[in-house]
Every structure is written in C-alpha cells, then in structure tokens.
Amino acid sequence: MSELFDQFLVESRELLDGIGAGLLRLERSLEDKAAINELFRAFHTLKGGTALFDWPAFTHLVHAAEDLLASVRSGDVAATADLIDRLFAVADQSSRWIDHIAEHRGLPADAGERARVLEERLRAAPGEAAPETALPDAFGWLRDLSREEREALRAAGPSLTAVAYDPDPECFFNGDDPLALCRRIPRLVLLRVEAAEPLPDLAALDPYRCRLRFRAVSAAPAGDVAPVFRTAPDQVRVAPVPADLVGPAPAPPPAAPAPGAAAMAEAILGEQRRILALDAAPGELEGRFASVERTALNVLTALGRAAEGAAVQAAAASARAVGRPGPLANHLATLLAAVAAEATEAKLNEHAEPRAARRALRVEPERVDRLLALVGELAVAKNRLPPLVRQAEGDRALARTLREVADTIDGLSDELQNAVLRLRMLPLATVLQPLPRMVRDLAQRLGKRIDLLVGGERTEADKDVLDVLGEPLIHLVRNAVDHGIEAPERRAAAGKPEAGTIRIDARQDKDSVVIEIADDGGGIDAAAVRRKAVENGVIDAARAAALSDAEALPLILLPGVSTARAVTDVSGRGVGMDAVRTAVGLAGGRVEIASELGRGTRVRLVLPLTMVITPVMVVEAADGLFGVPTSAVAEVAKVPATDIRRVKHAESVVLRGQLIPVFRLRRLLALPDGEGGGGTVTVLVLRLDREPIGLVVDGIRDRLDAVLKPLSGVLATLRGYSGTAELSDGRLLPVINLRELL
C-alpha cells in the first residue's frame, strides 16, 4: 500500500504541474481545445487517484473542477479569465493537500469546508444554466437521471447520444419488435423501458397494442444510432446529450474510472486477497473483514462500479457469518478478474495513443554523489599508473603492456566520469516551470499585461547548477515584470503593444548554460545607474563619467545600486541584482546585462554546465602551484615587465589601449616577492563582472578538469580558496576563489 501511496504523491504532483501549465496555455488562448482536453484528463486522473484512498473532500473538489471543464469542452460554458482563476484555486488547494497528505497521510481537518467553498465558486460559473432550454422536450428525462445512471453516463464518455423511441401502438402488426431494435443500439449505456401511460391490469390489457416507450443513451455518435431505427424513423428522436446534464452531480459525486486506475485497483484488490489469506487469530478476523470490505468498496467507487458494492457487503457478511474468509476471498477473486480485464483493456487503449510508456528512474541524489566520489577516487588511483609505467622501462614488453592498460583505464575512467555527470543533469524545465505562474500572478497584481515566452526548457544542467539558478531567475523575472514592462497606458503612449513580452531562453554553449531573460519594457537608464553608483560610493564621479553606457549598466549588479524609484513589494530594494550576481558568481558563472532605454533589457546568466568539474589553469607563484578557474580567464598576455606601471600602491597595465588594474598573485597570497625572471611577466586577464582585472603569475603550467573538493576542518575558514583538486602526481592543488581574493 505504501508504494501505491508514494506513487500517488508523485503522480498527483506531476498532474498538478501539468494542470498549472495547461491553465496558463488556456489563458493565453481561451479557445485552446487541446489545453481544455488535457486539463480535463488531468483533473479526471487526479480524481481517480484520490478516490483510491479515502479522501472524499479531495475527490469532490477535483470532481467539480472536472465537471466544469467538461462543460467548457462541450462549449456550454465559455472559458474566461475568471474561470481559469477558479481552476487555479482548485489546483493550489490540491497542491497544499498533497503536501499535507505527504506529511500526515491524510487531509487537514478543514478540508471538507474548504472543498465546499471552492466547489461553490466553481459551480457559480456563469452560463451553466443556459443550455437547459436548448434541450428538446422529448429528452426531459435526461434531467432526472438517478445517480447510478448519471455515473454510467459519465463513465461512458464525453459525447453521448440520447434516443427517445415512442413506438406506434400498432407496431406489432408491422412485425416490429421495439425491444429488439433497442438491443441493436450500438454502445448502449442506458436503456429505460417505461409505460407510456400506466399499464392497465393484465385482464384489461390488449397484448397486441404497444404501450411501452423506450429511453436510451448510447456512447456512439448520433449518425451510428439513427440507422437502427430506419424502419420507424417517425417514432424516434435522436440527439446528442448536453454535457452539463451529465455533469454536476449531487454530492457525493461518484467517480468515473481514471486511466490507470484499473491497474492500481487490481494491485489493491490483489493485496486485500493476500491479507485475507494470512493466518489470523479468531478475534482479528472480524477487523480484517471490515477493513478489506471498506477497501474493496472504495476501489469500486473509484472505478465507477459503486453499484457492485452491495455484493461485496454481502460477501463480507457471509464471511463474518461463517467466521472464515472464504466467501469474501472468492468474491474478491471474481472482482479481480473483472478489474484485470479492464486494466488490460486500458493498457491496450494506452498503446493506441502515442504515450511514453517508459518510466523515469528516480534515484536519490546522494547515491549519484557517492558514485561520483568513487569515480573521483578512481581517477586519482589511475594517476598512479604512469609512474609505474616509467619504473617498468627496464622491461620493454612489460612497459608496453602496462602503458596500454593505463591508456585503457584512462579512457574508461573519463567515460565513466562523463556518464555519472550526465546522471546529475536535469532539464532546466524544473527551474523554469514556476515562472509562468509567477508572471501571471504578478502581472495581475500590477495591472499589467505580459506574455511570457519560455524556450529551451530541455536544456540540461547539473542539479547543483539548477539549485543555484532558481533564486536569481526569480529575481530577474520579477524585475522584468515590475520594472521592465511598463503599464499598458504607458506602453500604448510609447506606441508599443499593450501587452509586454518577456522572453526566457536557455541553451547550452560549449561548457556553459546560458539563460537569457529579455523584456521589451522601458529599459534601464544608464545615466541613472551612474548617478546612483556615485551616490553610493561604488565608483567615483570621474570614472563613472568615463564609462560608456554599456560599461555603466553592469554597475547595477553591485550592492546598493538599484534604479527603481519606489520600493515596491515585488522588487526594487536594491538587493536583488546584487544577490543575483553573488549567487551566480558562487556557482562559477557570470551575469551580463544589456539594455536600451525605451526598448527593453536583456540579462544573460552564464553558468558552468556542472559545478562538479571545474576547468582550472594551473599557475605558478613562488614555486607553489595554484588553480585558477578557467571560466574567469578572458586571455593570457605576456607583457614586458616595464609595461606594468605603478601609481602609488596601485599597478596597472595598458592592453590594447585599455587600462587594466593589475594584482600580483604572490602579494595576494602573502608569498615572498620576486620577479618571475626574464624581462616579461605573465598576466591573466580576468573578467569577473565588469572591468577586466590583471593577475600577474610566475607562469602557467597546465590546464585540467578538476573535481573540486571543498576545504574541510580548519582550512574551511580560508576564504581565498574555493577548494582543492588533486594533481596527477597526487599533489593537492589549491584552487583560488578569485572573488574573495580580489
């Protein structure tokens, strides 16, 4: 049972994600039939899931949403923004319940009340009563179906055909047998045989005059039903059943079988049978019968077979009477066979639709990390082979064989590492998913109209990178909604379309993931950024004035520089952009920003694909080796030592006409001063956020893909290092955290 429970949690969360996305799609295009269908199916499936457990409030609420969607689908109720809001409310409530259920294994105490309120909101949808009048009089009986009948109709499908057949009283003389005709109605869902007027006593009855009439519902289209009655076309009326008639049912609403529910039901029933077969003390049996009976009843309800519940109760009663599980077990076996047949059928139907049958494998992240750690250790162990090969030089044949083996292991361990890294890759969809909903809600609150276009959800990045990415992305999109996109009137005045557009694009670029958030809003005023930066002492006035607009914009990423005129509850406290820069920087990425006043802003986040592997440059300083993340190095320049000019304590160099401040790694690390020798020095030109910075090193030794291990123990307090990597000879390489150091 617990596996079923877990499966339910996972699946319902997926369904709710789908529902959120579907509602947003529907909102964009209210006529989107595919979205309506998907939503209907999602709510339907969710309902099936909830009905397998004993949460009537949940089932009712989801059912009401499903009903409403059925009416939308049939065109009886129009999809409106208001209607979408109500459905969102249901989805939100469902999500909260799922969270609650995951933790407490049941619904909160107020669930019934909440469900009732939301259901009422749903039912208040306008236009629902309208089609009543459209129904021909001959089908009035459709309005007073019994609960079971309504249930059967709902289970049969969305498009139903109603038949009202009033045979001619003399029809027997024409050789007609109305009942035989009714038998030929394809896909018969309901047949009522009624007396047209109360039948007289048998003695007064003329057996050769037909006094019966027939009311039927078929799941086949009207075009398939009508031909059955071609011998009596004047006595029959055939019409599609308006969906809302089958729709809102009196509480408690019965559940129709959900796709996949049959398989689940099969598993549950099988489990109940197993339970019955277990040995039990005589006193325990009673309780066991009761629990099996209840479970079986729930399953039947979920499958839309509530009518068969009486038989279960009878079987349970017999079991109790004889004090043995036999009768109940036998009945379960019968049920199981019926349900299994249904499950097989459902599976066959599933095959017809191009649905991905493959299930994703869910693995605990810790297991993958453990695997990765082992791969790292393998790499280090592997690095001990080359020295052995050298030692074996004396024996050429042995040396050659050893080298071959070493090469093979080398290749395999690389592949293994890549394979494990791939395991940690997840599509960006996981972080992009919450954005559409957020944009919608924010835009509504701010009275703006915004279209959000998201592309590249399938781009993959390491799970850790995604974890880092979530927050900054939300900040940036919020900024775009709040400060970027203008109010509709202002946009109209500026000759832009009233609805603003925010475009999010993700793509992989070599070893990086690039995420671009672009809006067509008001843009950032570079002059205001300059002014604010100077006010806050981030930069002095002279230098600010010297910056071009493009160079000044990145200043907005620094603490305290935010250009929003008013602090709103959405964003604009001047910490957002700084937080973005910090978070992205910590992950080894960078933020780029471009904006044109009046035209819009584009922010680009560039992050490494994985944080596990960091490409580093191995540089030398005072006979020590240090790692510098390659991602930060824009270029490596060799310049004459005399080119580095010193003004007071600050040094700088001019490269390609640009003045670059220069720092010496030896000094930064408090190592003894000394020249690298010769007349030239090696300068790494680093590009962190805005202006380039030069870093003088003694030399460059190597480049390598390092698996960074964080510093532990006392060393963890050394903030100048982001971790250590192991070199092929087993030595540890401290990797410099440039942001902290500079």
Partner: protein, 112 residues
Amino acid sequence: MPVRYDGVVARFEGLCGVEEALPLSDWLLATPDARLDLGPCTELHTALLQVLMAARRPVDVPPEDEFLARWISPSLASGGGVEPVPKATSAGGDRRRSAVARLAGDRWKGPA
C-alpha cells in the same frame, strides 16, 4: 414452444416471439401463483415484456442474457426465489431440473 408451462412455472427458452403474448396473458390470468423462469430466454418480444409488466408477478429466475438482465429486469418485479415452491402438478416428461428447481432444492422433483 419457446414458453413452456410446467404447472405454475412458465419457463422462457430462447427466442420468445409475439405469438406467445396472448397465451402468456391467459395463462397468467389463470395461474395466480405463477412462477417465472426467464433464465434461458435470449430474446423477449416487447409484447411479452408488456404482459409481464402488466402482470406484476415476481420473476424467480432473471434472464441470463446480458441485455435482458441489465435493461429488462428493472422493469419487472423480482421474486423471492428461495420461498417454498408448491409441488409440481405437471406430469410432463421434462425432468431437466430448471433453475427454479435448483433454487427450490429437493422439493422440486415432481412425481417420478
């Protein structure tokens, strides 16, 4: 004959057509404690159904035919199949034990 009258039991077998309507009506009027066995009935003419509905007699054995069982049975009164059945008065040759007989147990054997 598709409808076989065996004492107080009317047994409907296979295709029961419109021509049975009048005899059935007459038999029912003459047999106040009639028992109805629709078990083997595969096709029941509307006229017969109408007679049965008007007679309001309990059906002791519902039809096995799926269509009839599902759609016709609700229109007919259902009988208490396990009530004692009076001894058969028929000396007919058909000794096959019908569903009624099975329900009634050993009491339904008829004179040998």
